[in-house]
Symmetry: C2
Subunit: 355 residues, 2 copies
């Protein structure tokens, strides 16, 4: 068990259950609600109930997936809290991946102007990404996370025990954010992660805290994403747009898969515009191409993709904002580029990936 | 012009326009949006544009009234912001009554996880009530303000110039909250207000800051309504339920009118249970009966009323929470009572009011 102490809360990594039980006993909430989706209800809730006794909790169930990270689902969650007379001294436990954490946290933060919540992220992605930083929200008008708030949980409990319930693609998706943490600020972490050969046999307690620390330092310096926190956006300007493009198709991309493609594209932009050495660019591009699923980006969708990039929250004064690399482990925030450079990048991606 | 300096922002009371112009120039927002409803667009926006030059603002219009303080209207506001490419350096100016301020503030606080907003309350009620305290939100599932956040504006600009656009009933409604401020913490203020004979000839700049200061002191002591802030709830446990009961009828009550009825009932409870002297109770009851419109509360609706009281945000552990008076100018928070005492109160109200 490792404990990261952040400004206002702690993250527990490892065999979390004793600490969780203690947290629940000490806080003495009037009501406890557990938010799950249909998958985590089946795979994760039994683990929770095996480990934690006597919670007396009510369960709120929502349909799974990013496609349900909507205001409609929030209305269901709020109505359930209301129906079960949740008062301001209630606790919401978000048991699931990023969607559960983001949306559950948002619903808790806005229910009666805010009740406590804790995060028990059950995927690698949500453990290394959304567990730090207080970003909560939902998708709206086809724009990811466009409605939300900044609010920290009371605590985060991370246990790799849940990975046994996940397909390997989901682990790979989470790895993409860890690789990003290495690329933007910790070259040694990136190199360590490159050495991993079998995703089914990883000592996660060794790697997760390193990734969390990269994110922790950046977020603590800039909690409201005014400047340096944009570093974490590497791969996300293009990645989010690609994720949105495939969201409602029959072959949606996992978040990390889309971000991997985003990082390939933005590494190309970094090489072209920000001084990323060619050999480092090639290493990044080839690694993600080899290890992650690739797509074809139809030329007729370029305007749509660019339009979505334009709607990204980090933009200011109508320019599209990028985080670029000047080398592995070193990033530059607030980079912008012309539309034609983005188009060139998307074309490069299409021409240099094998599907 | 008077200026109240709160912890993180200032409230300007009087001829606000020079200060507002200066605020807008100094802040240099990327986009400025003005939220109005159909009424304030007609009555208040022309005053704004006459006083403030060169704002280059976009207008967002919503239908008026508490009945539209819903998630549907929020979706319209968010969509409009999105459509007009509002970025995080945008400002939302809420020009209107409490609904505009509460809902506009909520939408601003959740759009892209939060953009700046200022309040220009145009009714007496919103000037003395919702301009302090950072409470934002909307009605949901028939429960008032059940979804929302605490967030302070960048500034509040209060000018009685807008009262010329209001019916006298609206002024009377606002006065109810000022009277409440007197009752809970400033007996001299209560007595001063009782002396006002003609609501059309009041020097508002004299009274508004006194009311604001009562609220300021209470809110600064307890920003998140954990304890003493509940003082402001006097008249509201029953008042909110009565307001909700009449909300969708042909004769809805103004907020202050419902709170006046709530104060009559809760003064009775205070007399019965909290030591409010009988002569003071009688003074309060008779004053509101004489000056404010009265209703009949159908006996068959008592369970519904009590059910709504039960859903109030200030409740904990399933008890219904009241703020009571032990004397004029002195309150007691966290009082509870039996259902039969509430029923007795509602019956007393019915039996002792003339309609």
């Amino acid at each position: 068990m490792q404990i990261l102490n952040l400004d206002t809360y702690s993250i527990f990594v490892g065999d979390i259950w004793k600490n969780l039980q203690q947290f629940l006993s000490e806080k003495n909430y009037s009501h406890t609600f557990i938010l799950v989706d249909e998958n985590t209800m089946e795979c994760c809730l039994p683990i929770f109930f095996e480990k934690i006794k006597n919670t007396n909790s009510e369960i709120i169930i929502i349909p799974p997936g990013e496609i349900n990270k909507t205001l409609d689902t929030c209305q269901h969650i709020w109505s359930e809290l209301m129906r079960m007379n949740a008062d301001r001294k209630s606790l919401l436990i978000n048991l699931g991946g990023g969607v559960i954490g983001d949306m559950g946290g948002f619903c808790a933060s806005t229910y009666k102007r805010g009740i406590d919540f804790i995060q028990i992220p059950t995927t690698l992605l949500s453990q290394v990404d959304s567990s730090i930083g207080g970003k909560l929200g939902i998708d709206f008008d086809n724009v990811k996370n466009s409605i939300g708030v900044f609010q920290n949980p009371q605590a985060v409990f991370i246990d790799p025990i849940f990975f046994d319930t996940l397909p390997i693609e989901e682990i790979r998706s989470g790895m993409a954010e860890m690789l990003k943490h290495g690329l933007i600020q910790n070259a040694a972490h990136w190199e360590e992660l490159l050495k991993i050969e079998n995703l089914e046999e990883v000592d996660w307690e060794k790697y997760i805290p390193t990734s969390l620390k990269v994110k922790q330092h950046i977020v603590e310096e800039d909690p409201f994403e005014k400047n340096i926190r944009k570093a974490l956006n590497f791969g996300h300007t293009i990645g989010h747009a690609v994720e949105t493009l495939f969201l409602e198709t029959e072959t949606p991309l996992r978040h990390g898969e889309a971000i991997a493609i985003g990082m390939m594209c933005e590494a190309f932009l970094s090489f072209k515009k920000a001084g990323l050495p060619e050999n480092e660019f090639q290493l990044i591009f080839d690694f993600f191409q080899k290890k992650y699923p690739q797509v074809h980006l139809p030329k007729e969708d370029f305007p749509t993709l660019i339009n979505w990039m334009r709607k990204d929250k980090k933009n200011e004064n109508d320019a599209i904002n990028f985080t670029m690399l000047k080398g592995i482990g070193e990033m530059l925030i607030n980079q912008t580029c012309e539309e034609k450079e983005i188009i060139e990048t998307l074309e490069f991606y299409n021409n240099h990936t094998k599907i």
